[in-house]
């Protein structure tokens, strides 16, 4: 596969993430050597799984690595004092 072709496939993948049920615009998609790296924080584990499923469909044949976090829903342990 040419570098140009994978570039357009990555663009289509990003477009699907935004358009489809995931409505995800906060995931960074970058080419790292031969692979594509997905990073960012998503609201739920199910949302992360859906993103990886779409990646498999759109980027099939390109190795996909991810470091996607699920947002923490815990309260903060301390305030920031704005003096």
């Amino acid at each position: 596969m040419s570098a140009g072709e994978s570039e357009y496939r990555i663009a289509r993948f990003r477009d699907r993430l935004a358009r489809e049920d995931t409505a995800e615009l906060g995931v960074r998609v970058e080419v790292r050597g031969e692979a594509v790296l997905l990073t960012g924080t998503v609201p739920t584990a199910a949302g992360r799984d859906e993103i990886l499923r779409i990646a498999e469909v759109e980027l099939g044949g390109i190795p996909v690595r991810h470091d996607l976090l699920v947002a923490c829903a815990d309260p903060p342990d301390r305030p920031e004092e704005l003096l």
Partner: protein
Amino acid sequence: MTATGERNGAMVRVAAVGDIHLSPDCRGLLRPSFETLPLCADLLLLAGDLTRHGTVPEAEVVAAEVRDLGVPVVAVLGNHDYHSEQEADVTRVLSDAGVTVLEGESVILPVGGAKVGVAGVKGFCGGFAGRSAGEFGEREMKEFVRTTRRGAEGLHRALAGLADGDCGARIALTHFAPVPDTLAGEPVEIYPFLGSYLLAEAIDEAGADLALHGHAHLGTEHGMTAGGVRVRNVAQPVIRKAFALYHLPLARPGERRGESRETVTRTSA
């Protein structure tokens, strides 16, 4: 703050979060944390992108998370909340749950015998000083920039309206970013889609003690306007908590902080 979470001194305890992107599959996700708010905060500010697609069922999930929390809840909407072109319905659902939804408006809340003013607007993109879109050329381009300008004017009006309210603190609440500082971590190429310097100009000219925004998930929490107003990006992926908590000093009536800032801004503008 004391060990039991009570206030000791003239300050307002501001809880804030944006970009929670709720939908029916995350019902109840934030509620347990939000229920701790009466112990640690005087108000909760929501910085937009509360839903995923801006639908009524999603807004109902948000409403259930924040209804009857025991602290006032003030929100602006974000671009996701506009996606289904049902922003009026989203606003209505949130308002019915007791949320004050601001769009170019302000609200004054009583806090410990003082008043706290919140001016809010969604805002829009366009970029930052020296690297921004101009109101020139095609109708679509001009309308794009005018949208940004109208949002900033709404924020200016709302903040200026608070100036006579004898508020101990004034907070500017937006979804889009007023400064590039809090975008660090986002690709520089997309900064123009993440905020506009016109929001910061409005904040500096009209005066505020704190500016809160969301939208930039990969950005950073801390920034400052050219006029010296502290900016915090409270997008949930950035703060990595259910909400961030800020203790903001309250000025005594007639002793407003930040008045000199206004002068500095005008000189440098």
